[in-house]
């Protein structure tokens, strides 16, 4: 078990170091986040639609598509210099490789979300101080769902010629259920509704988390077959 954990951490640390050195995915994701948040804000008619009405959708469109940049890069990094073969030659269990890559993606997406939230507050003039724990909870749950399935699909498409185009096409249908749930919960959080009103959606998100994580871990090995 210690070897498993060590391998997972080694992969997360390696991915974080590579991203820290290059910053390509993070900067792209942040530019994208700023663009989406600002365009959606200025595109509405302020006399007809309040900022609060579109805020939940804007937040989750930003999170989802900014995360896609990182997910796209996840296994392209392993394709560079055939690094994936270097991983496969080691005694590290295949599931540890997946969990490590997923951990790296979660770290990346969490960082993008962390930087996007203040921008979101700034643009949409929402107060999150009182409901921050709830927002963090729903963000963590939805992020886990789409990062797990995104990591799996990233591994699946990396060997195709148009990996960067294929990933969004395959991933977006899987994102609809968790992101719809996240938008619903976020809307209620921003409207100041009680937590009890959101329990149904939160349970649904928890079910997606369990299903997506378990299936992704189990199916990862199949993506490595020739």
């Amino acid at each position: 078990m210690r070897d498993y954990t060590r391998a997972v951490w080694a992969i997360i640390a390696k991915d974080a170091t590579v991203e820290w050195r290059t910053k390509t995915a993070f900067l792209s994701a942040m530019v994208f986040a700023i663009l989406v948040l600002s365009i959606l804000f200025f595109a509405r008619d302020p006399t007809a639609v309040s900022a609060l009405d579109i805020a939940p959708g804007a937040l989750w469109v930003t999170f989802t598509f900014a995360a896609m940049v990182g997910l796209n890069r996840a296994f392209l990094l392993e394709r560079e210099n055939n690094a994936m073969e270097g991983l496969l030659l080691t005694p590290v269990p295949r599931t540890a490789i997946f969990v490590g890559k997923m951990g790296g993606n979660l770290l990346f997406v969490a960082l993008v979300e962390l930087v996007s939230v203040p921008l979101f507050v700034l643009f949409y003039n929402v107060s999150l101080t009182e409901r921050l724990p709830e927002l963090m909870l729903v963000t963590a749950m939805a992020t886990l769902a789409f990062v797990s399935v995104g990591t799996l699909l990233s591994a699946m498409v990396v060997r195709t010629r148009f990996a960067e185009l294929m990933l969004p096409v395959l991933l977006l249908p899987f994102l609809i259920p968790p992101v719809v749930g996240a938008v619903q919960v976020t809307a209620r959080i921003l409207a100041g509704r009680p937590l009890s009103e959101m329990m149904g959606w939160l349970k649904l998100l928890a079910a997606f988390d369990i299903a997506f994580v378990v299936l992704s871990v189990l199916l990862f090995e199949a993506t490595l077959d020739e």
Binding site: D3, R6, A7, A10, K14, T17, V18, R21, T22, L77, E80, N81, N82, A83, E85, G86, L87, L88, L89, T90, P91, V92, E226
Partner: protein, 223 residues
Amino acid sequence: MKPLLDAHGVSRRFGYRKIFNDISLSLGRGEVLALVGPNGAGKTTLLRVLAGLLKPTTGTVERHGTVGLVAHHSMGYDALTARENLAFAARLWGISDGDRIDHLLEQIGLAKWGEMRSANFSRGMTQRLAIARALIHDPDILLLDEPLNSLDEPGTQVVLDVIEELAGRDRALAVVTHQFERMASVATSVGYLVGGTLVGPEPVDGRAAEAVSQKYRSLLASA
């Protein structure tokens, strides 16, 4: 003595395209097998099958020990330094001995460039790093795919020394090469992969490189 690597009736296809057929070979301790063959003969594919990266279409491959592979690509990360690349590989192999990395960097002549990102390496330096990476866990079986590519004369000598040293420590090695004359001093056997079949392996003790080249040319002519 039980061989470290044993392949029986191995064949490999990609779709309908046959790469090689019914190959059997074994690698014992201290053995250095040189694999020669023309471009596209399937030498790299055979090495990948022996390493376990590809499944054979038919046949079996048994490995009795850890495997290291030096392939055409470095299997490293450009954004990491040479030392970080080796440290990452070491962690995956469960090796915590930091001296091992220093020793390998010294052995392959990269000690001065250990802190340089591998993106800035020349092809020869990248090749040296790939060799160090394959050696990080001191493998029982080392498979090398054209390891002398891109290497200058001192680099070539370093690789030949590494091969000799590993064979002296009872490791088993298979080396794909187009430069048998450079490998003649360290190879103990030679196999000719021509037309999808393996001729040999046969011992090369005391045989001049020229004799191997002659046989190789005649096999190519009759293929």
